[in-house]
């Protein structure tokens, strides 16, 4: 699909889809509650640049990306988040920045979106379960936020905490995971140009089930590292304990780099099923981003640091 790159429109100026839909369809839908349109409605984004980091592989259809989700707070089955996250409240939204920083602060979503120009990054996404997608994310490098956060020299890790509210996420009770969901990166991984904060996909704001309003995307690691709906970013000196590692340390490590040579204890990671394809394809080391990231792991035994 063609994208316009010429217009530069700040995120805050964009008319919400709910608003323009409701204006346009005012008469037709006068009898319906407005909430029906606001709930889960995406907003068109524009003014984002294309990125040289994008793959030209066939993009996974929007419908698959938004109905096949692992978002355990909204249910264990892949089709549940699309339904259960429909009324998830993502506005107003703030992110708490704390830990080893010059000054702890809270940044609201609009300010966050002004930190750097938006780019479209078409990335491969490889889930630890053995399937993959190609997703056209919209976002900006996480490094822009880290610079703005002014981490202290002691800060060695960046920890991400997902928003958690049992009232909005009653299904979380059955997930068998401790919430809020925590993930973390080493500082050099977090500063890597491939690592982005994403606020949308397919040219629209992020659907709730994909981690609205803003999520992490680390394309060379298994999907569970790329946390959704970020509420807090904490800079730490010590390596944080992350959610899946707490739940099952033998199966899910801190690194979680995509690696066909290191099996998950219960299944091989050598191949993957690209959503929409019948056969399986070979999984690539670092999910095909080895040229950009392999140097980060020079001295590391990837078999032990899975």
């Amino acid at each position: 699909m063609p994208k316009q790159n010429s217009v530069s429109l700040p995120y805050s100026e964009v008319t919400p889809k709910a608003a323009y839909l409701s204006r346009r369809d005012l008469i037709k839908t006068a009898a319906l509650p407005l909430a029906a349109f606001q709930a889960g409605a995406a907003t068109k984004l524009s003014g984002y640049k294309k990125s040289g980091f994008s793959t030209s592989e066939k993009q996974t259809p929007y419908n698959a990306i938004t109905t096949y989700n692992n978002y355990y707070e909204f249910g264990l089955d892949k089709d549940m988040p699309a339904v259960n996250a429909r009324n998830f409240k993502t506005s107003p939204w703030t992110i708490r920045i704390d830990g080893e920083v010059a000054k702890e602060k809270t940044i609201d979503f609009d300010a966050l979106m002004k930190l750097a120009p938006l780019e479209e990054r078409v990335y491969r996404l490889r889930c630890v379960e053995g399937w993959s997608m190609v997703v056209p994310w919209i976002g900006f490098p996480l490094s822009a936020l880290i610079k703005a956060a002014e981490p202290a020299s002691k800060a060695k890790f960046v920890q991400f905490e997902t928003y958690f509210d049992l009232k909005q996420m009653p299904e979380a009770r059955y997930a068998g995971l401790p919430f809020p969901y925590i993930e973390a990166l080493r500082m050099d991984e977090a500063m890597h140009p491939l690592t982005i904060l994403s606020a949308g996909l397919y040219g629209e704001t992020m659907p709730n089930q994909n981690g609205a309003p803003v999520r992490l995307v680390v394309p060379w690691k298994y999907g569970f590292k790329s946390v959704k709906s970020i509420a807090r970013i904490r800079f730490t000196e010590k390596k944080p304990l992350t959610t899946w590692t707490i739940a099952n340390p033998r199966e899910y490590g801190f690194q979680a780099n995509v690696n066909p040579e290191v099996d998950h204890p219960r299944w091989s990671q050598a191949r993957e099923r690209r959503i929409g394809e019948f056969g399986k394809r070979d999984t690539l080391k670092f999910n095909g981003y080895a040229d950009q990231v392999a140097s980060l792991y020079g001295g590391l035994d990837l078999r032990k640091n899975y």
């Binding site: 109905t67 096949y68 355990y72 892949k78 399937w131 068998g176 219960r266 099923r273 399986k280």
Partner: protein, 199 residues
């Protein structure tokens, strides 16, 4: 009620009911309605229906005695064979659509991954039961020996539930429900056995 259970119609209805999940999955597959990952949906669907039908077959004897409906025995073999049918579909989905018949890789899975080991065991134990399900085989083996052989279904069901418990990433509630159902059916058998021994 008891007379109705003895008719051919009742058997046909049971056959139709037990085939419905397979027909429904095939229809959904044909209409491309199995979601973004249809192969996963088929793997899960055939697996879960194996367990359900196996539990139905194990519920028939307790139901006969508790409800006073000995006629229900007519449906036990049907249910058992349908459990075998879904198990076979499940196994072939794995062999073909997950592994594409890469036998060395499959063998690695069986020996290395305990949830696959449990699943294979559950299936393997059903094979002799399906093979000896006919009246001719009951005669050939003799009722007592035949019955002893068919007690393997208990081990198969346990292995099947364990297979499910071991494969989930987190959230053991759903496999837990199947484990609990099997536990109830097995507990009833244990109680029944004690009662008969004392009598």
């Amino acid at each position: 009620m008891r007379r109705a259970l003895n008719t051919g119609w009742a058997k046909a209805a049971a056959f139709a009911a037990l085939s419905t999940p397979a027909v429904w999955m095939a229809w959904q597959g044909y209409r491309d309605e199995l979601g973004p990952n249809p192969i996963e949906a088929i793997t899960r669907g055939t697996g879960i229906w194996t367990l359900r039908v196996l539990l139905i077959s194990l519920a028939i004897t307790p139901a006969r005695k508790l409800l006073g409906l000995p006629e229900l025995i007519r449906f036990r073999r049907l249910a058992g064979l349908f459990a075998f049918f879904y198990a076979t579909l499940h196994l072939f989905t794995y062999l073909w659509l997950d592994k594409f018949f890469a036998w060395p890789e499959i063998w690695q899975d069986v020996v290395k991954r305990r949830f696959i080991t449990a699943g294979m065991l559950a299936f393997a134990l059903l094979v002799p039961l399906a093979a000896t399900s006919t009246a001719g085989w009951i005669r050939r083996l003799g009722g007592r020996r035949w019955q002893a052989l068919h007690r393997l279904v208990y081990i198969s069901a346990i292995a099947g539930v364990v297979h499910y418990l071991w494969l989930v990433k987190a959230g053991v509630i759903k496999p837990g429900i199947y484990a609990a159902a099997l536990g109830v059916l097995m507990a009833w058998r244990a109680l029944d056995w004690f009662r008969r021994r004392r009598a």
